[in-house]
């Protein structure tokens, strides 16, 4: 069992290395991607910065606390796209029948899909997100204990899993839509925008959507609420790892169910 997972991890690393080698052929493009995606995400920062020039807090959340929520979105998105950008390839893989290649190899197709691309634009997100996170944490007076640090790590990993699972699950819709221009995964992705700010500012409909339907709130808001001991939401933060497991199992189930419908079109 363990040997199997180690083998998968090693293979994953090899696939990613292959992607990197391929990518190095387009070095300028790579730099532009990293720079531009970092730049576009700085805009949100400007928004928050301008607002907090005028008001001390929003719904009881100070600037640095909101920045943690914001940075969580970017760090997790960055890591998730750096490592698992391949989900976005599913549309092409399925509609052009390229998934065939993955299915005739003795390796999990999910592993092969996830590692079919490397999201260099994630590097920009990771760098900026981490910088904000470090700044924010140093500005917030918090009592860090070892259990809390461990929990913070668990929350971060869970958040990455949740995000990546949503990506895999929403992209699996391609098995049903039979439509090369399907925009469903992008729609789901853009809902993540709500998770950049404290979810407590929204009405119940939006809160329900980002908590239950597409649990983006567990990527940023609930973990932050837990760490900062905010209102009732801190208890929700404890659920994050459970939600992560639920999402991962859900995504794999949806994928496998969809795979049975795969028609290997596009000859």
């Amino acid at each position: 069992m363990i040997a199997k997972w180690v083998k998968m991890l090693l293979l994953y690393v090899r696939f990613m290395k292959a992607n990197l080698i391929a990518l190095l052929e387009y070095r300028l493009d790579m730099m532009i991607m990293i720079f531009s995606s970092a730049l576009i995400h700085l805009l949100g920062l400007v928004f928050l910065w301008v607002i907090y020039q005028r008001v001390p807090d929003i719904n009881g959340w100070g600037l640095w606390e909101v920045l943690v929520v914001y940075a969580m979105v970017y760090v997790t998105e960055g890591i998730s796209s750096f490592l698992f950008e391949g989900s976005w390839m599913m549309n092409t893989l399925v509609n052009k029948g390229l998934l065939d290649n993955f299915l005739i190899r003795p390796v999990s197709p999910i592993l092969q899909i996830l590692s079919s691309r490397i999201g260099v634009n994630g590097i920009g997100n990771i760098l900026i997100g981490t910088a904000i996170l470090i700044q924010a944490v140093s500005h917030i007076s918090m009592h860090w204990t070892i259990p809390k640090i461990i929990m913070a790590v668990v929350l971060l990993v869970s958040a990455i899993i949740i995000r990546s699972s949503i990506k895999l699950a929403s992209n699996s819709s391609v098995f049903w839509t039979q439509n090369p221009g399907s925009s469903f995964p992008f729609m789901i992705h853009s809902i993540g925008e709500f998770a950049k700010y404290p979810v407590s500012i929204y009405n119940t409909v939006i809160q329900g959507i980002v908590t239950v339907v597409v649990p983006f709130a567990f990527v940023s808001f609930y973990p932050a609420a837990y760490l900062f001991d905010k209102e009732v939401f801190r208890y929700w933060g404890l659920l994050t790892p459970v939600v992560a497991i639920y999402c991962a199992i859900g995504a794999v189930t949806i994928f496998n169910y969809g795979l049975k419908r795969y028609e290997s079109a596009g000859n």
């Binding site: 387009y26 008001v55 500012i201």
Partner: protein, 266 residues
């Protein structure tokens, strides 16, 4: 007149294309919708404790958000990618063989597609108006008229910016990177994040010397009657001058870029 007609045809074809790819439009509009909704709620939380922020009442801020959404919906991602794609897939070489002006042809296509965008955008805008419950609106017909002219000028400026950004694909093969940088700069300096008057004084005065404020801030300010009468006419004139300037700059860059084609070999 005949010379003009072929561009009308191009615009028509582009409109039909846009309708065929309606789902692509819907996503980029929905992404804008989610963005405006999240900003709406964050402002709502702020205004629950403040009567005005930087001179904007809550109703005015809602109106500003609406105009922001509308100007962002026009000339969306699709038009931007269409220009880059023309260059990247080499069909620009085919275009050079035709008796068409590249820039005018792209303008015709962009405007054609934006008719469809306006319809979709208007539908979403009305949903926004319902959700927002009460927004400030222009006091009289003249203001409405000035606003619409300003909105048209905004589209022309945006075309100028998109076109020039698209031409950069002659030098790089990464349309997304170019589009992202373009979007980041435009959004920051046009007032698409917050009204420019909320910026620190130095940043606000920088934007006064750039074309970007004509994209969002000027039409929104006219809509809110914050710029009116002669000042509004003056601002619109400046918008049009910028549009003209960007058009000419686009021509200049194009003639440089065409030399690039011979290097690429089409």
């Amino acid at each position: 007149m005949n010379a003009f007609r072929k561009y009308i045809v191009l615009g028509k074809v582009s409109l039909q294309n846009a309708m065929a790819y309606r789902s692509t439009f819907l996503i980029s509009l929905l992404a804008g919708f989610v963005l405006v909704m999240s900003q709406f709620y964050i402002w709502k939380a702020i205004y629950s404790k403040h009567n005005e922020i930087g001179g904007y009442s809550w109703d005015e801020m809602k109106a500003y958000l609406l105009i922001m959404f509308i100007t962002n919906s026009l000339l969306s991602w699709y038009s931007e990618m269409a220009i880059s794609q023309k260059i990247l897939d080499g069909s620009v070489a085919m275009d050079l063989l035709k008796p068409l002006d590249f820039q005018k042809a792209r303008l015709a296509e962009t405007m054609g597609a934006s008719i469809f965008e306006s319809i979709l955008g208007a539908a979403l805008a009305s949903i926004i108006i319902i959700i927002f419950e009460g927004i400030a609106s222009p006091p009289d017909l003249l203001t409405w008229l000035l606003f619409l002219v300003s909105l048209l000028a905004s589209a022309l400026i945006k075309f100028g910016i998109i076109y020039i950004a698209g031409l950069f694909c002659f030098w790089t093969s990464n349309p997304y990177g170019v589009a992202w940088v373009r979007a980041a700069i435009t959004n920051l300096l046009s007032g698409a994040i917050v009204p420019l008057t909320l910026f620190p004084r130095w940043l606000e005065s920088v934007t006064a010397y750039l074309p970007f404020r004509g994209v969002v801030f000027v039409p929104a300010s006219i809509f809110l009657n914050r710029i009116n009468g002669q000042a509004a006419v003056q601002e619109i004139a400046i918008q049009l001058l910028w549009a003209l300037f960007l058009w000419l700059a686009g021509r200049m860059i194009w003639s440089r870029a065409v030399r690039q084609i011979t290097i690429y070999g089409g």
